[in-house]
């Protein structure tokens, strides 16, 4: 595989990939909404306006207002911030710990260290992640930070396993042998030669984990263990609208759609990226 050829066609491949385009567009919309919310939102979200509560969508409030009279569009924009921040940091935690662990285990394949690392990961993986997240936030108190930590911990084994399996195949390759002959230590080989070659895999998986992080944050907030009021959160918006769904469906519909479309967008983008970075897999399906 020549690098020059791949690079030349990468842009064209991306434009041809429908999954990537749709997913990317959806993701972009929500990322942009979150960024714009830092400088401008249609209405402030930290106040209440009881006189205008539970209004259906109108020109003044395109997505209507909630039970405190807050503008739902503004809430969703600021809520995107919460979701994205939680998911980014959670994926970051997973990569920061998971990738080095995976590289280390692969470099010491078959040793006790490899066993300890991977069985430790299996242990974390064995628990239903949302249950443990609930336990962690129940012990340390509900907050966005604890939600991030709880979700982040469950990203560690995902990245560790992926990195290890990718790295193991690479360790058999001739260019690694060449690097060894050149006298490079296994740590240096891991970071200089293995890591860049598993980066594709990590990006694809990162996108998927990102969408799972958004779902997990929404789930935790839904049961009251995520971001605390008055910080808007999509999951909490859903929970609060629940008893009013029969007469104010817009209150549940829009945050629900926001979660759905963001997660869908990220998943499509992940699929698209995998098609491009890992053509073998595409042909296999």
């Amino acid at each position: 595989m020549s690098t020059a050829v791949t690079e030349r066609s990468l842009g064209a491949q991306m434009l041809r990939n429908r999954n990537l385009l749709i997913g990317g567009a959806l993701t972009f919309v929500f990322a942009a909404a979150a960024l714009i919310s830092f400088v401008w939102v249609p209405y402030a979200v930290d106040g209440v306006d009881i006189a205008n509560k539970i209004k259906p969508p109108s020109a003044a409030h395109p997505l209507g207002t909630d039970h405190f009279g807050r503008d739902i569009l503004s809430m969703i924009m600021v809520g995107a911030r919460t979701s994205i921040a939680v998911a980014i940091v959670a994926v970051g935690i997973g990569m920061l710990f998971g990738v080095p662990l995976g590289l280390w285990a692969a470099a010491r394949k078959g040793t006790l260290l490899d066993e300890v690392i991977m069985r430790g990961n299996d242990l974390v993986f064995a628990f239903p992640s949302l249950l443990i997240a609930i336990m962690i936030t129940a012990i340390f108190g509900p907050s966005a930070v604890n939600a991030i930590i709880a979700i982040g911990i469950f990203n560690i084994p995902v990245f560790a396993r992926l990195t290890r399996s990718g790295a193991l195949a690479l360790w058999q390759r001739d260019f690694i042998l060449a690097a060894r002959v050149a006298g490079k230590g296994s740590a240096r080989i891991s970071f200089e030669h293995i890591l860049p070659n598993v980066a594709n895999l990590l990006i694809v998986q990162g996108t998927i984990q990102f969408s799972l992080g958004i779902l997990a944050e929404a789930g935790l907030s839904y049961v009251g263990l995520g971001a605390q009021p008055p910080i808007p959160s999509w999951g909490r918006m859903l929970a609060e609208s629940q008893t009013m769904i029969s007469f104010a469906p817009h209150m549940a519909l829009f945050p629900g759609l926001a979660i759905l479309l963001t997660v869908l967008g990220l998943n499509l983008m992940g699929d698209g990226l995998r098609d491009i970075f890992d053509p073998k897999l595409r042909r296999g399906r």
Partner: protein, 494 residues
């Protein structure tokens, strides 16, 4: 099993659906409420849920609350009070037996009162019995209670759920197997789900009209809504989601009863925590609160504004809401005068009920307007009792005080509000020894005014009792003079 006759005007699919579920035995009723009792002995815990299920249904006292809050004879059919107000002679009902078959007599009354006021008593309201000097049995149906000082509300005290009469043989096992004298017998308790009661065929008074009653515990507002809509429950006592009531009101299958309760809902402030120990800061908080917004936003309009710790339906109520009217400018001025650095950060713990969670968010937004940053912490009840109520680790919190005539509880400086004013304590002290109605009324007014002027708490609103019931259920209490779901005269419309 009998099918209920269709109500006129109820044709179509709705009526057909109703007919299937109305095929219920006429004598059974399922009542849902939000909280499950921790155990079943009202004489050894403060939890209102115990009384809600068992008061008057299973346990009875010497006197009892009627639905309008007045005190009527219970196990004591009549009484004589001596001239000096110190000696009460109770004449007990005849032919009363406990549910386990043992006979009820004056010895049981003596035992119950002595047990409640003993030094090692676990009664949550020992104050009710504080004035009792001696309890003597003169014959099996007569008890003479001598007080150490005249107590104006002694008969009222004896009507509380904490003062019910129990038998010595079963007193230690009441927490799991309640044994009272009431019109219903305890049948079963499936923890986490329901408590079942059955009609007591040997009841000494007017027998219950229902054959059996089931109490179900549903705290989640969505599940509550679904349970009523699906007609899984016949009555939902204290419905948790006021936003759904208009829907029930329009549905011919149901009726909504909106009554008053003894629940003063307050934004409690930690009176010993700086800077809330400064009355000007507390006044600033009070003026920053817009009560109507809270009632509309959190309770969907159900609730009456209060200006002190006293229910508006009481004849001795004084409207003091003007002392703490909504005035953010005054609030800012007061904070500046008190020299508080803004933003002032205060921890606000919120227990689960929607009045607290929603009210808390609205209040936090209102306080933010004057520069007070309330940091919301949503907690479960157990945690709230542990850290906020007992541990006093909080700045602000929202809770509804549902006990009747509980203004005196704020006199205790050890109470979670940590309000310590000797003048207020003196007024409450005097109240407890005053029997003259006019003088009592004056003292109550004085106590309310002192609390309002000291801005002990942000007094928000009197909780409304919102009950949803099948249209055919009759005889329910509309108001809540004490936490109780008295089923003794509840029946299905014939």
């Amino acid at each position: 099993m009998m099918f209920k006759p269709f109500r006129t005007g109820l044709v179509s699919a709705l009526a057909l659906a109703g007919a299937v579920t109305a095929a219920q035995a006429d004598g059974s009723l399922t009542v849902a409420m939000q909280l499950e009792p921790p155990h079943l002995d009202p004489t050894s815990a403060a939890a209102a849920a115990i009384d809600s299920v068992l008061y008057s249904n299973v346990y009875e006292g010497l006197t009892r609350f009627a639905s309008d809050g007045s005190i009527v004879p219970g196990l004591a059919r009549s009484w004589d009070i001596s001239e000096d107000g110190l000696t009460y002679t109770f004449h007990l009902a005849e032919g009363v037996t406990f549910h386990d078959g043992s006979a009820f007599d004056a010895e049981d009354v003596k035992f119950s009162l002595d047990r409640a006021r003993a030094d090692d008593s676990t009664n949550a309201q020992k104050g009710l019995f504080a004035a009792i000097d001696t309890v003597e049995v003169t014959d099996p149906l007569t008890v003479v209670v001598t007080l150490s000082k005249p107590t104006g509300n002694f008969l009222f005290n004896m009507a509380w759920g904490d003062a019910v009469i129990v038998a010595p043989e079963s007193a230690d096992t009441l927490q799991t197997t309640p044994n009272g004298t009431g019109a219903f017998k305890f049948a079963d308790w499936v923890q986490g789900d329901r408590i079942e009661l059955v009609k007591n065929p040997e009841y000494w008074g007017t027998p219950a009209e229902l054959d059996e009653a089931t109490f179900k515990f549903i705290s989640d507002p969505t599940a509550a809504f679904a349970a009523v809509m699906a007609e899984d429950v016949d009555v939902f006592y204290s419905f948790p989601a006021p936003e759904n009531l208009p829907q029930f009101d329009m549905d011919p299958r149901f009726k909504v009863l909106a009554g008053s309760t003894e629940g003063e809902t307050i934004l409690a402030m930690n009176n010993k925590l700086a800077p809330l120990d400064d009355v000007r800061v507390r006044e600033a908080v009070a003026h920053a609160i817009n009560r109507q917004e809270i009632i509309d936003g959190a309770m969907f309009g159900y609730g009456t504004p209060i200006g002190s710790f006293f229910p508006p339906h009481n004849p001795d109520y004084v409207d003091l809401t003007g002392l703490s009217d909504y005035d953010p400018e005054k609030s800012k001025a007061l904070l500046e005068e008190a020299g508080v650095a803004l933003p002032l950060r205060l921890k606000m713990t919120l227990p689960p009920p929607s009045y607290a969670r929603r009210g808390g968010e609205i209040i936090a937004a209102q306080l933010r307007q004057v520069g007070i940053e309330a940091q919301i912490e949503n907690v479960e009840w157990a945690q709230w009792l542990e850290t906020t109520f007992r541990g006093k680790d909080y700045g602000l919190t929202i809770v509804s005080h549902v006990e009747p005539m509980d203004i005196g509880s704020l006199a205790n400086p050890e109470y979670y509000t940590q309000y310590d004013n000797p003048d207020f304590r003196a007024v409450i002290e005097e109240l407890s020894v005053t029997a003259d109605q006019a003088a009592r009324s004056e003292l109550f007014k004085q106590a309310q005014t002192t609390l309002a002027e000291d801005y002990v708490a942000g007094f928000l609103f009197q909780m409304a009792l919102l009950t949803v019931a099948k249209a055919e259920v009759e005889g329910l209490w509309v108001n809540m003079p004490t936490p109780a779901v008295d089923l003794t005269s509840v029946h299905w419309a014939k």
